[in-house]
């Protein structure tokens, strides 16, 4: 897995292309302090009004902390959370 990642990272660096285009790393877009889009997640781990966690590649986690968090939409790879955002943490 690590080898594959490094290859993809090397490829993206060499060809000057975004890493998420060549490997399944998550891409997080926060808009307006009230909405966050996580692209390329590996599954929903926790869903609470103050905390939403989604699995990222390589055993990582994307944790969204806030108030009144709601899952607006979810597909196999993307999920959109809305609410009052406090923090986006990566583990």
């Amino acid at each position: 897995m690590g080898k594959e990642e490094s290859v993809s990272a090397r490829m993206s660096r060499k060809f000057e292309i975004q890493q998420e285009a060549v490997s399944a790393v998550p891409r997080i877009t926060v808009s307006g302090m009230t909405s966050v889009l996580v692209e390329g997640h590996r599954g929903l781990l926790e869903y609470e009004p103050e905390r939403v966690a989604a699995a990222a590649g390589a055993g990582g986690k994307v944790i969204i902390r806030g108030e009144n968090l709601r899952l607006v939409s979810m597909s196999r790879s993307d999920l959109t959370i809305s609410g009052k955002l406090w923090a986006v943490e990566l583990e």
Partner: protein, 405 residues
């Protein structure tokens, strides 16, 4: 999106388990849409799903160690399933829809737009003659025929169109523009004074100036004559062109009552109701609808319609009668209003190129009337073109004949 969900139907499910969010994960993995997924409370989560997955939902929940219960079904399919058992209701519903569809083929509301300065009554009458009236069947309407008929009837209309939306007919009209005045160069005109004054400057570009600076003239007096003169004789009548500036004096007066009658509502208010079906009116009250003395009547009409969708020939009318007493109160700011009105009139008299040299304003109060007088001295152009009369033309011709002899 909401409309599509309503048409296809949706369900509200309650998922209970140790990790209900896993159920959402399964839905996402299968590409199944869901929405309004509330965060779990006491191991229970609510989520909305399309109706087509009603049977699949419990099995999916079981596969992730949860239990799913369908709380409620929503949308059109559910509604149909419910109504199917109540035939009378279904027939009534279908009849109502049929009535609305049938009614939408008739005009129940006509609005005329863009008719500023035009006689809307004449336009309505002309539209009625062309077939566009309340209760008219609109599918055979021909824009060209209606337009031609109305434009012929009302010559002050330049263009018009009729837009039908449901039972609402919107008539858009454009008024005729006045044609620009064409100066007839062959017409013989002279320049005369519009008002009395002392001439300060004469510029006769064509014609013969008959006044000089410093001369006093009266209103209507000839300033530049329509005569072309040679060195020794009169050559003929022409169109005089020129400007004559003069000092002028005006005394303008305006009056207004010192007190005015002011309405004060007593708080007494009554409502009466009526219903209009097409052109027929049913009053839900006795007597006539004429308002008594010292009361305002406000009529509110509520059409049974959905804006832009359909209009039914049913209008609910509410007539509100509000009583008031009339009290006499001193008028505020009357002098300023009169002064500004006089200033406006003076500006009109002096014209754009004129100027006010001095002015004096006085106000007197007699017999309950406030009289404001504005006395001014101005400097302005006083010449205006006036066509020659036949007698004046004959005089000029005789002058030419005399010189030839």
């Amino acid at each position: 999106m909401r409309a599509a969900r309503f048409v296809t139907g949706w369900l509200e499910a309650e998922v209970t388990g140790i990790q209900p969010e896993k159920f959402l994960q399964t839905l996402a993995e299968r590409g199944m849409t869901f929405w309004d997924a509330a965060p779990p409370v006491d191991f229970t989560m609510h989520v909305c799903l399309p109706l087509r997955w009603a049977k699949l939902t419990p099995a999916l929940a079981e596969s992730v160690g949860c239990q799913a219960r369908i709380v409620k079904l929503h949308g059109l399919p559910t509604l149909f399933a419910r109504v199917k058992k109540r035939r009378t209701l279904l027939i009534g519903l279908l009849l109502a829809v049929a009535c609305i569809l049938w009614s939408s083929l008739y005009v129940w509301d006509i609005q005329i737009a863009g008719a500023d300065g035009l006689d809307k009554g004449a336009i309505r009458a002309s539209l009625a003659d062309a077939g566009v009236d309340i209760g008219a069947f609109w599918p055979p309407f021909s824009q060209d025929l209606i337009r031609n008929s109305v434009i012929l009837d009302v010559p002050t209309i330049r263009w018009m169109t009729v837009n039908i939306r449901g039972s609402h007919a919107e008539v858009i009209v454009r008024p005729m523009r006045e044609a620009a005045k064409v100066v007839d160069e062959k017409e013989y005109v002279k320049i005369v004074a519009t008002t009395a004054g002392i001439v300060t400057q004469v510029q006769a570009l064509r014609g013969t100036a008959v006044v000089t600076a410093g001369q006093t003239v009266l209103a209507g007096e000839t300033l530049i004559d329509a005569v072309a003169t040679g060195r020794y004789a009169v050559q003929g009548a022409i169109r005089a062109i020129g400007t004559v500036r003069a000092r002028t004096w005006y005394e303008l007066t305006a009056e207004a009552p010192v007190t005015q009658s002011v309405k004060t509502y007593t708080g007494k208010e009554t409502s009466r109701w009526a219903l209009i079906f097409g052109k027929n009116r049913i009053n839900f009250y006795r007597g006539c609808s004429i308002c008594q003395a010292n009361c305002d009547k406000i009529i509110k009409e509520h059409k049974l319609s959905i804006e832009g969708v359909f209009t039914l020939p049913v209008t609910l009318v509410r007539e509100i009668t509000r009583s008031y007493s009339v009290d006499s109160q001193p008028t505020q700011g009357t002098q300023n209003e009169l002064e500004s009105a006089l200033e406006k009139e003076l500006a009109h008299l002096v014209g754009d190129d004129g100027s006010v040299i001095s002015k004096d304003c006085t106000a007197t109060e007699t017999d309950g009337l406030l009289r404001v007088t504005l006395r001014t001295e101005c400097e302005q152009q006083i010449g205006t073109a006036v066509p020659l009369t036949d007698a004046e033309l004959a005089t000029i011709e005789s002058q030419i004949l005399n010189t030839k002899e």
